[in-house]
Symmetry: C2
DNA sequence: TGACATTTGCGAATAATTCGCATTTACATG
DNA sequence: CATGTAAATGCGAATTATTCGCAAATGTCA
């Protein structure tokens, strides 16, 4: 799953649209996060990015995640008892379930949950900016 | 909204059922959390409890929340960017919405969301142990 | 009433994240 | 394409939330 030129210019443009500079560090971090299938925390993301580009520091990974989250390019998954994890904002929306025995994080495909939340929020006079849902579950 | 005798023996019994001792500190903390309408974090809970019973320490508030959460008496609300908040396990279930402008935490009545999650989890072969959903939204 | 495992307070330790600041750099403008 | 300037970076120190270690206290059960 290699980021092709099209997607490349995509994120570059999205950064610019958000008024952000395209730095080599941001490019490296985004590349790694895009190519990664799981949902890394900052430490993991830092290690992987480091292998590709040793100019990045942990602080920059933190700052980049924060900045990209605000720009809507990245989603932060807040965990109950572990450091936050991150994923590139998915085009096909989904939610997350943690297998509390194995620790695995499983994606729940579909938008049903998000749609229901939107409807319910609308009833209260709100529109959703973001939501994080982590379901802790055990195999039946 | 004062905890009456019935509810009192309730929580005492629930502690015992969970193999936990009924200590004065736990009693004070539970009393305060039960009487509180909002969803305090540990620091707030500690301050309020302290006014009633100056034998409690912060460490005990943390330990008590953890122990009560495991016993299913308390629910932990994991926030995006702020210390966790707590509430007594509600009998009428609900979810939570944070007004990102005011910081207010609003309860969403009803069980629709939880029910949908249960259904979806079941489809994946899981049963939910707990879930935390925090919706960040803005007034329309 | 004792015996003993549990719980507590205290302060120190840890883990995750943020900050301060001097230096570097992307990029708009001429 | 040179360059001024705000934005971004690395580094390590600081902060914040939470957990831990341990000795003393105490709830509970026999």
């Amino acid at each position: 799953m290699v980021t092709d030129l099209e997607n490349d210019s995509d994120y570059r443009q999205m950064l610019r649209d958000a008024g952000l500079r395209v730095t080599p560090q941001r490019a490296s971090i985004i590349t790694i996060l895009s190519e990664t299938d799981d949902h890394p925390n900052v430490e993991e993301l830092y290690e992987k990015t480091r292998a590709l580009d040793d100019t990045v520091s942990v602080a920059t990974v933190y700052r980049t995640m924060s900045v990209l989250e605000n720009a809507g390019l990245v989603r932060k998954l807040v965990m109950d008892d572990a450091p936050a994890r991150y994923e590139m904002m998915p085009h096909t929306d989904h939610d997350h379930l943690v297998d509390i025995d194995s620790g695995d994080l499983i994606e729940i495909p579909g938008t049903e949950i998000a749609e229901l939340m939107s409807r319910v929020a609308a009833e209260l006079g709100y529109h959703i900016v973001s939501h994080h849902t982590v379901i802790r579950a055990r195999k039946t």
